[in-house]
């Protein structure tokens, strides 16, 4: 017996020693992917998908939105809005998390694009490779364009960052613009014609989108210190080429009805050049739990005022979740959109009426009835019922007596507040799974109407006012549909000015995440904020035309020379 044990032990011991020596300490991850995956064809495709998906973290969340929509002549902070960045007060400083997020996200996905462009897998067939790289260049140009517009000189990574670095430098803006333009020219040469081209899936990069962006890039560079003599010319050449040649060939044209451009379900319409995609298949829509974070589309919430605490109202999927980050300036609702007879866009852009949806909070007529109460008012009886109007914003001034004659709440412009003002409806999503969910609507980034306005602006700035007018009028005439008179919308060369073009852009594009750049490009930011933005007019200073380099960037650049801050910050 004893011997057996000894043998057993010895065998076990020797067995372990000899076999275990062969056990290797190699790591084999099963549930994660490593960068080696990018060397495969599948990896290339998935990297491209990620480079697209990166834009969900730009267009959709409230970060980029806060940097482009409020703090302009169009919008001010709403009740739950930002109290620093959008007001240009001293709370807006280099530690601002909003600008840091956009900065970081752009560089993350630029690196993804760099990997695709500089190291495509050897086994990839040339057609896939050519379009894939062209797409990546289009996307990279977009990321850099965001960076250069907000920050000026920025770090220019042209190749994949394979090793960790703790140093960084800023490249001159001119270099960045040249890089963007080169990317776009390369992309235009290889991308499919238009989103309407057969086989092009919604959201994919196309030649039309790249041309639109290139026109915009030239136009923007022309307004910057890196401007080149023929920038305006290049801008309108590209824009006009798109409008007159590429668009017709690619099945692109303005929608007949301005209201249809943003109609839910119509995001792939003939006017659309590029969208950031979202889907009602929620697992693919954004954040995994659809909790209004990260890559979710929150634009549906951000303009919604606090209707739900008004008498007779409660939160509903139809009217949205009131994030109330912004409310329109009086200049936007009362001045820019003052013409509402022929120009149909005000009513197709703003919600001004809410119907009662909560029986429990319907107010009763007091006893005695107030002076001027409408006929039919009964003391103690409900003022209205579910389905009746509960809130109405007529859009023009009314006397107290006129207001008193309504059964429901009437709010003339003088009573607009940061909690309750007309709500921009372009992003409303009435088909969300519940009242708190983010939107599953694709976000329109570039559309043909803007190409017209880019062409107009470039021509005008290049001194070709006469040629510019037709492009403004094309957009304006469409705005009359269906009940206005298109001819009445036309303007003459004498009426055209840079300010008119900016006003027209507001009427057409307000709330479309471009305004801050429009004002910065045209040098009108300070002027217009001081005129129309009650939040920022006393605070804005010349250095605000550039965003601060995020403190996170400066703090983390620990080797090499310190990362320079923008002047004034």
């Amino acid at each position: 017996m004893k011997r057996i044990y000894i043998y057993l032990c010895s065998c076990l011991f020797l067995g372990l020693i000899t076999t275990a020596c062969k056990k290797t300490l190699i790591e084999a991850p099963k549930s994660t992917l490593t960068p080696a995956f990018f060397a495969t064809n599948q990896g290339f495709q998935s990297g491209l998908v990620a480079a697209y998906a990166g834009f969900r973290t730009i267009w959709g969340p409230d970060t980029y939105f806060e940097m482009t929509v409020p703090g302009t002549d169009e919008f001010i902070a709403g009740n739950d809005g930002n109290n620093g960045l959008v007001k240009y007060n001293s709370n807006f400083n280099t530690a601002d998390g909003t600008v840091a997020t956009i900065w970081k996200n752009c560089y993350t996905y630029i690196n993804t694009c760099n990997g695709l462009i500089t190291n495509p897998p050897a086994g990839l067939d040339s057609a896939t490779k050519t379009t894939g790289i062209a797409e990546a260049k289009f996307l990279r140009a977009n990321y850099y364009f965001i960076l250069v517009q907000f920050w000026g000189d920025v770090t220019l990574n042209k190749t994949f960052q394979a090793t960790p670095t703790t140093s960084a430098t800023r490249a001159p803006m001119a270099d960045v613009y040249n890089f963007i333009i080169q990317d776009l020219n390369d992309a235009i040469a290889a991308l499919p014609l238009s989103p309407q081209t057969n086989g092009v899936l919604p959201g994919r990069a196309t030649k039309a989108a790249a041309m639109h962006l290139l026109a915009k890039v030239y136009l923007t560079r022309a307004g910057s210190s890196a401007k080149q003599p023929d920038d305006y010319k290049n801008a309108y050449t590209n824009a006009i080429n798109l409008i007159t040649n590429v668009a017709p060939a690619g099945g692109l044209k303005l929608q007949q009805d301005f209201g249809n451009v943003f109609a839910q379900g119509n995001e792939n319409n003939s006017e659309i050049l590029w969208t950031v995609q979202h889907t009602s298949t929620l697992a693919y829509n954004g954040s995994p739990t659809q909790n209004n974070s990260g890559p979710d589309n929150l634009l549906c919430h951000l303009f919604v005022p606090k209707y739900e605490v008004q008498p007779g109202m409660q939160r509903s999927t139809l009217y949205g979740r009131p994030y109330i980050r912004v409310v329109p300036t009086h200049w936007l609702t009362d001045t820019v959109f003052s013409e509402r007879v022929n120009d149909q866009r005000y009513n197709k852009t703003f919600q001004t009426m809410w119907l009662c949806n909560n029986a429990a909070s319907i107010p009763n007529w007091p006893n005695p009835l107030p002076a001027g109460a409408p006929a039919g008012a009964q003391p103690g009886a409900p003022k209205f019922t579910v389905g009746d109007t509960a809130i109405w914003m007529p859009g023009y001034a009314m006397t107290a007596a006129q207001i008193a004659s309504y059964r429901y709440q009437v709010i003339p412009p003088a009573k607009y507040s940061i909690a309750l003002s007309p709500a921009l409806t372009k992003y409303f999503d009435t088909k969300r799974p519940d009242q708190n969910s983010p939107s599953s609507r694709p976000i329109i980034i570039y559309r043909l109407a803007e190409t017209y306005l880019i062409a107009a602006e470039a021509l005008f700035m290049d001194g070709r006012t006469g040629d510019a007018v037709q492009y403004v009028n094309a957009v304006r005439e469409r705005a009359a549909y269906p009940s206005g008179n298109p001819q009445a919308m036309d303007i003459t060369a004498g009426q055209l000015s840079l300010d008119f073009i900016l006003d027209e852009r507001s009427r057409e594009l307000c709330g479309e995440l471009v305004r801050w750049m429009d004002l910065a490009r045209t040098g009108k930011l300070l002027e217009r904020v001081k005129l129309h933005n009650s939040d920022g007019k006393n605070n804005i200073q010349p250095f605000h035309v550039l965003r601060p380099i995020p403190q996170t960037q400066i703090d983390a650049t620990i080797t090499g020379s310190p990362y320079p801050q923008n002047p004034g910050w």
Partner: protein, 1132 residues
Amino acid sequence: MIKKLTKSFTFFMKVSIVVVVCVLVCCQLLLAKTAESQASATLVKISFSRESLQTAISKLEAQTNVKFSYNPEDLKDYTTIPHKFKNEPLGKILNYLFAKTHLAFTEINTGIVIYDKTASPKSSQLTNKTNERNIVGVTADITIKGKVSGSDGPLPGVSVVVEGSNQGAVTDSTGNYTIKAAPDAFLVFSSVGYRTQRVPVNNQTVIDVTMKSDSKSLNDIIVVGYGTQKKSDITGSIVSVNGQALRDIPASNLGQALQGQAAGVDIQKSAGNSHPGATQSILIRGTRSKNASNAPLVVVDGIPLNGSLNDINPDDIISLEVLKDASATAIYGSRGANGVLLVSTRRGKKGAPVISYSGYAGFSKPLGHYDVMNGPEFEDLKKWGLINGNPGKYTGLNDPAFLTDGSFAPQEVQSIQMGRSTDWQDLIYKTGFVTDHQLGVSGGNELTQYAISGGYYNETGIYFGQSFARYSAKVSIDQQLGKYVKVGLNSLNTLTYTNGENANPLGQALRASPLSTPYDNNGNLVGFTAGSANQVWNPLANFVPGAAVETRKRFGTFTTAYLEANLAPGLKYRFNGGAEVRPDVYGNFYASATTNNLGGASTANNQTTYSYNYTLENIVTYDKTIAQKHHINFTGLYSLQESQAEQNSFSYNNILSDGVQYYNPQYGSNLTGTGSYSKWDIISYMARINYGYANKYLLTLTMRSDGSSRLAPGNKYHVFPSAAAAWNVTQERFLSDSRVLSNLKLRVSYGTVGNTAIDPYQTLGGLTSVNYNFGSTNVTGAYPTTVPNPKLTWEYTSTLNAGIDFGLFSGRINGTIEAYHEYTNSLLLPLSLPPTSGIPSSILTNVGETENKGIEVSLSSINVPGNGRNSFSWTTNLNITFNRGKVTKLSNGVTQDITNNLFVGQPLGAIFDYKKIGIWQNTAADTALAKKLGLTVTGSGSVIGTIKVQDVNNNGKIDAGDRMILGSDQPKYTGGFTNRFGYKGFDFTVVAVYRVGGLITSKLFQSGSFINTFQGNYNNLNEDYWTPTNHQNYYPKPNSASTNTPYSSTLSYFDGTFLKIRSMTLGYNLPESIVKRISARSLRIYATAQNPFILFSPYRNTFHGLDPETAGALNVDTPAIQTFTFGINMTL
């Protein structure tokens, strides 16, 4: 090929385990006949000539290191018959020696007691000349009888000596003794493993004594890495905590029980978390690493535990050793950098079955309410917020527009008008209950010893839906097989149910407007509470049964088996195998109307985790004493550790029926899932030599080589050496007569250990997946978020440790003083790169060096020894730790890395922020200064009334250059003390922990907590805020336009000092007369109050915080609790 080999190897390992387990089971059935256990099983090679029995025993004692206890008088008449023993068990030799005598022996603790078996029931009692002289002397001796017992009943073999004489006796097998002594004499009771007691006779003729086990005894056996050692032979820094100290506090896990009990061990609630089933953060000698875990390695019965502390039933633990210096931990090589906790669990002992039961039950309540505003206070806050957020809009607090313009919800207006105020905390707190039952049986014979125990622990939280229950079963068996082989099995099994581990209705309860009510006019629960911008959902909604369900079911077995074979005299081989398997199933479901979903779609999540790890060890030890003075002990080890974990997680929402909860995704929509897999291995070779010369000079040399799969190729293997020396000064002749010094030992050690406690696959870089769609085509992408680090290598910590162990006044005072200096190199650090690098996630790199130096003092003192049950006794244990850590170097000559919060010369955990110097006042001077600094002084963004920070760099504006080091979370010193009092069967124990200095961060006070926004949208901490008329200089103004009060983080730093009475226990040991009547051996009842007081805490006393104890920042979470329990301990 490699894969194949690995596979076949794994298979072989599994087969090996199965074989060992089968052998163990079969051997149970084959009870061999003659075998001894424990000390008596030690194999001895010895020869006797004709010599006195006493000489023979002395020889055995020297050779075996087994301590013998006997009355020399019993032995003096016997001589031995010459005989040679060739590797016979000690027990057999003793049987031979005692064959024709009246002597017998028994094993007590770790020694052997020889007693006269014929003396029963009278004990052996001998008189000698001294005694006779006494009789003739001044006073006549009286005969004293009595019974000596220990915690488990009568104690045989206790030596009873009349102080100052040669007269003595030894208790018999039933613990009785008889002795003659003068009426004013003192009796000294002593026995191995027990504290010596000195009892005055005082004319008594019956003196019963209860011996107390003495953890400080130098002959105590201490568990060290891969073996045991006599305490006097230890060269490293090891703190031993006995089971008694661990049981002073009725605790749900080991961490709770150990708090404040050992110098250099800093245990705190993780992020102040107090919910049932929460585990603690344990730091040994401070923080040394930034990313790699700082948690110590927990080794249970020789095998590393990878599960949580909750997986071990604290009642199964009989002793705990904390290994602190490199000499002690080097043997654990790469896993020892953060110290090691060696846990020993209960095993069977030879003897009649002992049945023990212990149980307690009690209740808990919050340590206080968070101090938030009531209705009128909130009303004012909101009004001030609106006034400041809309300059010029309101005329003042009494502006009637507030009540009509929608500033307050209709219900809030109603509350203001009727003076109604809701205390939401009152509504959510309830009394928690805790109960614990442990039942155990242990016993055994010469060949087999067993211990079986079962336990049940249940704790419910202070709000609905939170609970933690643990069912545990433990079996241990030790079996001698033939002469040379011994096998054993120890299986710890637990099943835990944790409910509501993330349940935290407090966020909503603290934010809810006190002017709103939880019920509408019809008595139904409301959804969104009135006011609060429709962002605060009624917290009571989560208490509706079935609305919020969150459970974790975790089963775990931690089973270790060993086989030990004596191959030759002194040469032993031991195989240890341990396996831990832990399935863990988690699920949560939140109905639509809960704080989680705010009326949106219901949600559910399921997670299944399967983790297993095993350790296989082959240990060879050789032990030899040469020429009686040179004691050499060699330990050699080869071991393999492997850990694997797999997890799946599924989420879905919009579940058709709330009754489905998280059980079936088919009834939900939008199913998403994730999975993970990880595995790591460590292969180790180790050798250790202990050398002792005449018990005076001791030397330990250790060398361990570890290979870790988690590091980069080329850096996987590393050798960790250490050396230690000790000098037992009291063994020297010149101290042998010292009356003061009973023990003095000097120790010094130096060594290196490593740390690879990092997640696997960090050398490889990683991609992050992302979903996207092109129209209706759904796609999955991946993009790089980290880069590979082909250079990743071990983090090393080298420690120089010097210690003094001392005992004074016959062991009345024992103490240890340790000083250490640790250097950590190749610090494993997650480096966050500049965003422009394009790498968004941090990269694990070896960057920088840290050091820790410190002094630890532990003292235990028998202030009043007490003599038996009826006299007063008092003992004190005290420890204090001073630790100073800092970063000494960062790579590339960088001296500050703000992003990663690393500053050369500062501790890890430095607090780097703006310096608050007050509040901007509405004075001309402040306005001018603010303008000069470029700050806005008009409009809703005006700085007037907000926090004023210092222009530290004096550049005329407030910018990032004004941030500075404000302090760190490192305390000046920490420690604990325990006082035990006894009198007439009563015992009273007070355990206290303290912490002095260091900053704590309480995020409650930051705007991000949403309870200190000063916005007026939500309820707020009740603070005396600034208003244009209240020029106080600490808290800023309310501002409805501002979700975040600028620089609110500066409000969140507090002095972390406190003294906490962890527990007060009053116990009573029932007298034997009563205990006997119910046929029990012992019976104790007690009552304990946990956390009755927190003293000297500025955070609690001045700033109305609840509990300053936290590792990491305090968040809005379950408040700390007080618990009151009543318990009973019984042995049968």
